[in-house]
């Protein structure tokens, strides 16, 4: 009999604020120990928390992006426990009423196709400090730089059925938080980390006892930890044992999970509303302002990139809504869908779905592409170049697209010269490399290189005819072979004409003139 795996994730996304959630200390990574640790962060007697508006705004942005409810009144609570990296002896978090409830994340499951993972909630809280276990005379060192860093804890429903789905969900969420710029997504630095709740059951039966695997900070570890944990649970049950609800830690060196806290020390967090913090009120007006400033999200952008017209876009969005909207007119639907309304004002590009998907992998790439098109480039050509030459060059240089030395305007300038026949595609690649090496930000930078290197394509009929005549005269043997019916000999002659022009002759014209002359 088979086992069904049930997985829910709790993800901690570090919010990209300049200062901490309840103090004015910097959130910068990598400072000397306990230097950006203010009186509030180290919990000196008498200090009090004051909430960072930037953290709340990022939570609102997240809620809007996943179609959740933003609670207009939410409550900060204290979660009490003793640990040396928790200076107050309690963590300020949200318990009964979080800032965000509900919402969903769409993912593609390798076995179940496109599915929606429901979100339970997302709540604001502060991070703890760090324990450094290097040997300080047998003691542990405590660094509180991280204490008070704002976190959004995003809790999913147990909607995932395999480690592949869990990874797809985590990746999709990771992409989203970066897309809406609430989290830098740096997993090595701990800015995005997942706890996985894993259980198994026979299909159709109620949920089994779950174990929580803490702090998985790479997609690979997430996958491996779940896979190990599933194997472990199956083995326990098939051996006649039972699963104990507990918190486990994944050890990547041994690729296994192990129990973190013993049962007899079961936690009692004694949550209660923090009396230092009155309820957080978020008024409708604020939510609407955040909504207005929201970037167009990846799924909508993908559809718009692939749509051929605005009407086509509305059709695509309606089709993907998951309910039958055939009764509703396009106009009414558009008015009811604010995301579509916002997108509808922007151009469609008629790309293949594959290209569109590749371009929306991250917001900077999508922006680069659209800026190139805005610079006058043909959408299909721009997509090919961004996903081809530009991506390859970035890869070689090991940098992100935001740091690309060739600006979208400069790339558009280059593509314009291909389109108008000034240069061939081959020459264009040469010019692109030169632009990349020297840096190119202006629309006319390509022209300058073309002129300086004399790479302007020869399209003058007479000049090409003269080159063709010279090649026919100087290669009687090859001409004879062609006349004897060897088509390959023709290509050889084209090559010779091109070589004589140092690659600048318009290849189409060369072809046509040569054919005509060889009659």
């Amino acid at each position: 009999m088979t086992w069904e795996v049930v997985i829910g994730l709790e993800t901690h996304a570090q919010l990209s604020t300049a200062s901490k959630i309840f103090s004015g200390a910097a959130t910068a990574f990598g400072a000397a120990p306990n230097t950006p640790a203010s009186a509030v962060d180290i919990a000196l007697p008498g200090v009090l928390p004051v909430l960072n508006k930037g953290a709340v705004e990022r939570a609102i942005r997240f809620g809007l992006a996943v179609g959740a409810t933003i609670n207009t009144l939410s409550v900060f609570a204290r979660k009490n426990y003793f640990y040396p990296d928790l200076p107050k002896g309690y963590q300020i978090s949200q318990f009964e009423i979080p800032v965000v409830n509900g919402g969903e994340i769409a993912i593609v499951s390798p076995t179940r196709g496109e599915i929606r993972v429901r979100l339970t909630r997302a709540h604001l809280e502060e991070d703890a400090g760090k324990s450094l276990h290097e040997d300080y005379h047998g003691m542990t060192g405590i660094d509180l730089n991280r204490a008070g860093t704002p976190l959004l804890e995003i809790v999913s429903e147990p909607d995932m059925r395999s480690s592949d789905e869990a990874v797809a969900y985590a990746k999709s969420l990771h992409e989203l938080v970066r897309w809406i710029e609430i989290c830098d997504g740096n997993m090595q630095e701990g800015s995005f980390r997942c706890d996985a709740n894993v259980s198994i059951r026979r299909p159709g039966e109620p949920l089994g006892t779950r174990c929580e695997i803490k702090t998985l900070n790479s997609f690979r570890f997430l996958q491996q930890a779940i896979d190990f944990e599933v194997r472990r649970q199956i083995a326990v049950i098939e051996d006649g044992g039972t699963i104990v609800q507990e918190t486990r830690l994944y050890d990547p060196d041994r690729n296994q999970t192990r129990s973190m806290r013993s049962k007899e020390d079961a936690q009692d967090y004694r949550y209660f509303p923090d009396p230092d913090l009155p309820p957080l009120a978020i008024d409708r007006g604020w939510i609407e302002r955040v909504r207005r400033d929201m970037p167009e999200l990846a799924p909508m952008r993908r559809l718009r990139f692939s749509a051929t017209s605005r009407e086509h876009l509305v059709e695509l969005v309606k089709g993907g809504a998951g309910v039958d909207l055939s009764e509703m007119s396009d106009q009414v639907y558009e008015e009811s869908n604010p995301a579509l309304q916002a997108s509808g004002q922007r151009p469609t590009h008629g790309l293949t779905l594959a290209d569109a998907s590749a371009l929306v992998q991250d917001r900077a790439t999508a922006d680069y592409f659209e800026s190139t098109v805005a610079g006058g480039a043909d959408a299909k050509a721009a997509a090919n170049w961004v996903l081809g030459e530009v991506a390859a060059a970035l890869n070689r240089a090991g940098i992100g697209i935001a740091a690309a030395p060739v600006s979208p305007a400069a790339l558009a300038g280059l593509l314009a010269r291909i389109a108008d026949g000034t240069i061939s595609g081959k020459i264009a690649k040469e010019i692109f490399d030169a632009m990349w090496a020297s840096g190119a930000r202006g629309a006319r930078d390509a022209d300058a290189i073309i002129d300086a290197k004399g790479l302007r394509q020869i399209s003058d009929e007479g000049a090409i005819e003269r080159l063709v005549d010279e090649v026919i005269a100087g290669n009687a043997g090859i001409v004879a072979e062609f006349r004897a019916g060897r088509e390959k000999a023709f290509n050889s002659l084209v090559g010779k004409v091109m070589a004589a022009s140092r690659g600048k002759a318009n290849p189409g014209q060369v072809n046509a003139i040569l054919r005509r002359k060889l009659g």
Partner: protein
């Protein structure tokens, strides 16, 4: 000269009849002379105080003196004072030096006051007798065998003995008003949120309120002008227009200055629980109010009887959480010997906290624990609202509420230490104002035959500090209870 009121000293300093240096030097001598008997201070900052006095005199010479420039005051040792020890009356913080000033400390500094020292208190502000201080009990200047009340007992004793004209305190369940009552001075607990809690070592966050001690209502108003004000560092500090708390005091009202005032007498405050001499003194005060033109209204505050159990469902819970930061890691006491991390925590906290503090932490931990939270904590917060509702109804019928501040005068050391519940009941009349957050003042209204002071509590609706102070001021114009000085202070 240093036994004058704040207002009088302020006038004499302004008139250059005395200098701050002279005043502060005399104050320091008086503190030294009485410290052994009263134990009112934990720290006296002689050098710092004289330097501040010098600076105040210099500022005055330049015409840049604040309203309270050069006047010596003391802060309860629960308030952070930069560069000075701030112990909270606990072994846990016996060696702690504060790296910053509390908001009310800043305010009084800005007004020009000279900080002469930090006053003794019940450990972490938990107590009604000042017997829980790690630094030994404070003695009542009226009778050295008796308690001064608590938790702000050191500040109360210091003002009562005329060591300083005014001092700060904090009031979580009566910790300003009850000691003011037991030592025969004035103590105001303002509306919650009017004075910032920033720099006040937290006991019960939704109840803790800083306020002043002084000889007169007028002096309390002068102190409030420097202590009140919005503070963005405290999320419960209220952003309201700045008030002059003295603004109503000077207005003349003729022979019947309280004409039209409706004085509410809560039935629950006049029951059998009161000492007979206390009851008689309070009745006499009510008669005085009537003489001054007020009329009385009997009101009911039925839920107020539950104030003490409500308080013990709420305050220890908050305290158990607030005091978790005292773990021996970043500051404060750390046990010398331990086996491992948890043992370090357990021993540090067992050694660093006294019996009453530990008791309240345990009560609070239980109240919040799984399975009991609803029955205790939530229930107490619900009954708290019922009490607030009682008050809201009462304000429709009267302008102020009066009654005894405490059911009995100062008791003897050790009288209630074996029975915490008996000790807790001493705050039966003061706790409700902390639960609702509304203001209340205790002023002297008489003495027992044995010469112990009796306090009258005047409560008002939210933000009625100026009105309460005005009523108290009128009463003090007509009576002289507030001007009586204990023999120990008059003996010079």
């Amino acid at each position: 000269m240093s036994d004058g009121t704040l207002a009088a000293l302020s006038r004499r300093l302004a008139a250059r009849e005395i200098s701050s240096v002279e005043l502060v030097a005399e104050t320091l001598d008086r503190i030294d002379a009485h410290q052994k008997a009263l134990n009112a201070f934990v720290t006296v900052d002689r050098d710092g105080a004289l330097a501040q006095a010098k600076a105040a005199d210099a500022a005055r010479a330049k015409g840049a003196a604040g309203p309270l420039a050069g006047i010596p005051i003391a802060h309860k040792d629960v308030l952070m004072t930069a560069g000075l020890p701030t112990t909270c009356g606990s072994r846990m913080l016996a060696d702690f030096v504060a790296p910053y000033d509390a908001h009310v400390v800043e305010g009084l500094k800005r007004a020009g006051t000279v900080l002469v020292g930090k006053t003794n208190m019940d450990e972490f502000a938990m107590g009604s007798s000042n017997e829980t201080s790690y630094f030994g009990p404070v003695r009542n200047p009226w009778d050295l065998d008796r308690v001064p009340g608590g938790s702000s007992g050191g500040s109360a004793a210091a003002v009562a003995a005329r060591l300083v004209p005014a001092a700060t305190g904090t009031d979580t369940g009566g910790s300003i008003r009850q000691p003011a009552s037991l030592t025969g001075i004035c103590g105001l607990k303002p509306t919650y949120g009017v004075a910032s809690r920033y720099g006040l070592i937290a006991f019960a966050s939704s109840l803790d309120t800083p306020g002043p001690f002084a000889q007169t209502a007028e002096d309390c108003a002068l102190m409030m002008n420097a202590m009140a004000g919005h503070d963005p560092r405290d999320s419960t500090s209220l952003d309201r227009p700045v008030e002059d708390y003295t603004r109503r005091l000077s207005r003349s009202k003729g022979a019947r200055p309280l004409e039209g005032l409706r004085v509410g007498l809560p039935r629950e405050y006049f029951g059998k629980g009161n000492d007979t001499e206390v009851a008689a003194a309070v009745q006499a005060a009510v008669a005085e109010f009537v003489d001054l033109g007020a009329r009385t209204v009997e009101v009911g505050l039925p839920a107020v009887d539950l104030s003490v159990p409500v308080y013990y469902g709420i305050a220890p819970a908050a305290a158990s959480s607030n005091l978790s930061r005292f773990d021996g890691v970043r500051y404060g006491h750390r046990a010398a010997r331990y086996d491992d991390l948890n043992d370090m925590y357990r021993k540090t906290r067992a050694e660093g906290f006294g019996a009453e503090v530990k008791r309240r932490i345990l009560v609070g931990t239980y109240v919040l624990s799984h399975g009991y939270y609803d029955a205790y904590y939530v229930k107490a917060q619900q009954v708290r609202r019922l009490i607030a509702d009682d008050y809201a109804r009462a304000w429709r019928e009267c302008d102020i509420l009066v009654g005894p501040t405490a059911p009995s005068p100062a008791f003897r050391f050790g009288d209630k230490t074996d029975d915490p519940v008996q000790m807790y009941l001493n705050d039966i009349y003061t706790i409700a104002a902390n639960l609702t957050g509304a203001p209340a003042i205790s002023i002297p209204c008489g003495f027992t035959r044995a010469g112990l002071p009796i306090g009258l509590q005047i409560q008002g609706d939210y933000f009625s500090e100026a009105a309460i102070l005005d009523v108290a001021h009128r009463y003090q114009q007509a009576t002289d209870w507030h001007a009586r000085v204990p023999r120990i202070a008059a003996a010079e």
